[in-house]
Subunit: 656 residues, 2 copies
């Protein structure tokens, strides 16, 4: 009746390849043997108890050129036990969401011992990845054959193998059949329909599904802003009242949509089980290091790192560094504006063609410097965040995103702020805004998906030709697939996609009363963005590992902060407009005081609104409370049983 | 081994009176019998299974004049089972905090079957009160003997008895010995020492202990502000930089102290068990009504009331009503200012003595009107909040407090705001502020404690004389105690005490740069306030029922909001000062813009600070996470057991 990991090795199940491990070309035989032993080894011996096989071409026993490719799979029961260890949450037959356990498997909706569709392939790959990442060093002091690759007890083996270059990559395989089905319902048809979010989640996991859900929600939420903004542009409405109306609507609307998203997101992730899944009780992320000890919460042995040390690193190193970089970036911007003014002066005084060309130099220089700074900063941010040593992947991501976000925000908007509030040139502002918004959208669409897609296509055709030269037959499709996919680009996470949306939200909301058309452009862009992002996910990049998540994390805070900042900027812009100034002809002081009063009232309204709208729909609140209640009751029951057993033992001893 | 409520009636334990019920003078015999039957009746018959006895004078079997006084007690085991039903949380022998259950009683620290000091007397009285309040009507359609007192299934009997005047009051008895001990360590000695918060909690319960904890914390936290403010007053420092320094310090300091209080409060309530106690899983408050149904979270039968109806009542009735009242209050204030200006004009033009008297009339009139409005509004607020039909006592309290708070805030500070920002008269502001602060403090000290204490003393002496006339001997002390205590005033909850602190915080922080001495006065006042409040609790009022609570509720929000508002007012005041105006001689616009920029920066800093300081200390976070982890694990275990039992049953059936 009882299925434990030790019982597993006796049952041999058919091998479904889930994850590919590519080793470096010159890896020693000794290392390969050791790695294989650890991956297939039993759990109690510190192994992962997975299935591990080299990639074979059916006819030639082993293809020499590709002997460094290995496939990892797992038996069905191993995957189910892995799901239990990870705390995956599934729907029960009675409609509640509960953490899956192997022993109670028949309570869960859609479970069948003879059928392995209970776990989605994305979940299976996540389980395998988690098991591989949590293979940790025991008494090894180095990786066999590589004395320079040091190990210490508790160090993640896979991470050391990757950092020392022995393993060059680990990636999950696509499922061509499922992918075709997903594509059909997703983006190959009429663009104006809802995305199959649940299917996306099944194939790519929650993090990516949440991004697409947010993209879709955000696009629909922008439509009212676009519709209301259009007549302002078409009829060149520039009355005071109408601008105030537009700005107020935008501000309150942006608060409402962000609050409503939280509710929608909670409903969605409750259905997926990730809202209930407690990821803080998981094992630490592979990059986490510290002295081996016992976790005070879960009681498991794992590396421990005192949180005050992390705080010191965050506040005494990372924070000053970020501030310094922000200052540097502002400084560079000021140099750019001065250079431009100097070039303009030179051109006006001489008027030759040579100086006409010179006019473009500061802009180009600035763009190049910004790009270089961005890349350097990103590396530094990744290093620092990794050095901060966060226990949870989500904490790591949030800290990294926050660092990069602030820098990008400044680079994107500082020049616009300068134009708006220092130069006070509304015409130039509108023009820069339109240029930035439209060029960034076009560039993104091209760079993000069309270009890689085209490259991929070219490579694909070349590979096909090479395959045919190898005379591979139908049975070689797996081989072909692996070789093809290993050359695809790696999807680096949703960061850049969210960042694009975030900056777009900035263009739309920060200066909405100067350029009301921005929302319409954003809506148009996002409708095509859905398709190009979908294409990118399905065809351009390697399949990414799925990652369970219950919300969009620090992006929620970022969007909310943006909407607070936009209250300030919009009020200031309205106050600066000549129409409004004309209303207070005798005193500029009255004008400013009125604007400040309105701004404070709007901010107060925003906070009250955000406070009054509950973050979770009522029915989710009830379900979560029910789960908490049941858990606490179960804990009570458990303790009562323990007491009863102790008493029985006592009386038994007396009796004997 | 198993102790259930049905086993209780066989064990007769000594009767300790805990709670007194006073019936009206003319209550029918039939009603008394019915009430007694319900109170002593078994739980399964809808009774409370408590002990119930009339108050007797030992020699004369029953004192005729006091036959309407009844004592309620409970056996030890009944109290322990009541503690389990309420979900009281206690410390275990292994240092963790767990919900008490009778079966696991020996796991808890300080538990001894032969000793009944495990539950504090305050807890016992809370349990008895809870049981009495949750005596609910079954098939009765009215209270026997009173056809006009209608009942319906699920209606709280005690509440109906109180509203129809059959029961005139229910109050817990003092424990004179413990009270004496508490007083000795609390306020009879040197005032400048820490209060015995844990003892206060043991005697009066968590809500009152938290108030005293907050009062003490707040007083100590004000000391730095008082110390820094003193030289400003003594040396008449009026430089710009120094005022900005003072204001900035005050603003950041007030944010920090409020955040740190949350942490301290969490540590305290964790130790007391109320942080872990889940009061939302309790039975609803007695005033809650609705159709009998099954609670979706706890699965218990209780009245249900849809939350959208409550929301409609809150947003469509209560909110407009509160806004209307605030408008009315502002309107009355404007009339007062006009009347005063008119009286001043009249006095100046005529200069007679008659008109000199007339100068005081508007102020007195205004004070009377405000007092009347305050009382009327409070009744209306209580009615409305009760009508909103909140399920939890805490929700009811929070909604009531919020309503009353906003109105009081406006009444107290609107005139100061008017003087500061409309009249712009800083001298008058400082003078009004000083007058308001000092008179309110003196008045409060007198009205709140000295006056009732004096009345109490007088009554006490009169009663003693009466007692001696009755020739009661030593054994009559209980009788004497009950008769004395029933005449004492009723403590109406911590609302007025917190309100006093809240308004004081307003005086200190809203205009701190105009009147830096306010903090010093507040500190002085609070040191004596501790003593007078303690005296009030111990000697002036009836003992209040204890009420478990895990934080100071909506007051935390109120204090935080006040500190946000004070950023705005202080920046405005500094901007209006002539010293600062002199810094921007040529342009008032620059001045205002600078002030607004500084204000926004301070507000941003405040929010970041509040966000960066965790609400709970690390060790409490870990302990709470551990509890959650264990609960979820226990739930898993429970389900596994269920499955195992089902399987055993299945195989058992097959076998037979």
């Amino acid at each position: 009746m009882k299925a434990t990991l030790s019982a597993l090795d006796t049952s041999e199940s058919p091998f479904t390849p889930l994850v590919v491990i590519e080793l470096a070309q010159d890896v020693k035989e000794e290392t390969k043997e050791w790695l294989k032993a650890r991956i297939v080894g039993k759990k109690r011996d510190g192994g992962a108890q997975l299935l591990f096989r080299p990639l074979l071409n059916k006819y030639e026993k082993e293809t020499l050129g590709n002997q460094n490719l290995y496939l990892v799979g797992a038996s069905n029961i191993r995957l189910l036990l892995g799901a239990e260890a990870l705390g995956l949450v599934k729907e029960c037959n009675d409609g509640t969401m509960r953490a899956f356990t192997y022993r109670t498997r028949n309570n869960f909706k859609g479970f069948d011992d003879n059928n392995d569709t209970f776990l989605t392939m994305a979940e299976c790959q996540f389980i395998v990845k988690h098991e591989l990442e949590n293979l940790r060093a025991r008494d090894e002091s180095m990786i066999p054959g590589y004395p320079q690759a040091k190990l210490y007890p508790g160090k993640s083996l896979l991470r050391r193998l990757l950092t020392s270059g022995i393993v060059s990559q680990v990636f999950p395989l696509h499922d061509n059949e499922a992918l075709k089905k997903l594509e059909d319902s997703w983006y190959s048809r009429f663009p104006l329909k809802y995305q199959p979010i649940d299917h996306i989640r099944g194939y790519f996991g929650e993090t990516i599904a949440l991004y697409f859900g947010f993209l879709e929600y955000f696009t629909f939420a922008l439509i009212p802003m676009a519709v209301i903004g259009l007549p302002y542009h078409l009829f060149v409405w520039e009355d005071y009242d109408r601008y105030v109306l537009l700005a107020s609507f935008n501000l309150l609307w942006s608060t409402v949509i962000l609050e409503v998203w939280k509710r929608g997101c909670a409903s969605m992730t409750y259905r997926w089980g990730t809202l209930v899944m407690k990821r803080q009780f998981e094992e630490p992320r592979p990059g986490y290091h510290g002295v081996l000890g016992v976790n005070a919460v879960t009681g498991r042995e794992e590396p421990l790192y005192p949180s005050y040390k992390r705080q010191l690193r965050v506040y005494l190193v990372s924070l000053p560094f970020v501030c310094l970089c922000l200052y540097l970036s502002l400084y560079v911007m000021m140099i750019y504006f001065r250079l431009e003014a100097w070039a303009l002066g030179l051109h006006e005084s001489s008027g030759s063609e040579w100086t006409g060309v010179l006019l473009y130099v500061p802009g180009i220089l600035y763009a190049v410097v910004i790009e270089v700074m961005n890349r350097l900063y990103r590396c530094a941010a990744e290093f620092l965040t990794s050095w901060e040593n966060h226990r949870l992947e989500s904490a790591y991501q949030n800290h990294l995103i926050l660092k990069v976000l602030v820098f990008n925000f400044l680079n994107c908007f500082a020049s616009l702020f300068y134009i708006a509030f220092v130069l006070g040139d509304m015409k130039l502002l509108r023009q820069s805004l339109a240029t930035l918004l439209i060029t960034s959208q076009i560039l993104n669409q091209v760079v993000e998906s069309l270009l890689p897609y085209w490259l991929q296509r070219k490579y694909h055709v070349r590979m096909k030709r090479k395959m045919q030269a190898l005379k591979a037959d139908i049975d070689a499709t797996l081989y072909e697939q692996v070789v093809l996919e290993k050359e695809m680009g790696t999807y680096l996470g949703t960061f850049d996609d969210y960042l694009e949306l975030f900056l777009q939200f900035g263009y739309v909301s920060l200066f909405s009363c100067v350029y009301p058309l921005a929302a319409a452009f954003a809506v148009l862009n996002n409708f095509t963005e859905v398709n190009s992002d979908a294409l990118k996910m399905c065809r351009v990049f390697k399949r990414p590992f799925s990652e369970p998540s219950s919300n969009i994390g620090v992006w929620q805070v970022a969007f909310e902060t943006m909407s607070v900042i936009s209250v300030v900027t919009n009020c200031a812009l309205i106050g600066m407009s000549p129409q409004v100034s004309a209303l207070f002809p005798e005193s500029k002081t009255d004008l400013i005081l009125t604007v400040v009063a309105v701004e404070h009232a709007l901010l107060a309204l925003k906070f009250i609104l955000a406070f009054a709208i509950p973050d979770r729909p009522r029915h989710i609140q009830v379900k979560l409370a029910r789960l908490e209640f049941e858990s606490l009751e179960a804990l009570k029951q458990q303790q009562m049983k323990l007491v009863a057993e102790n008493l029985r033992d006592d009386s038994g001893e007396k009796g004997s």
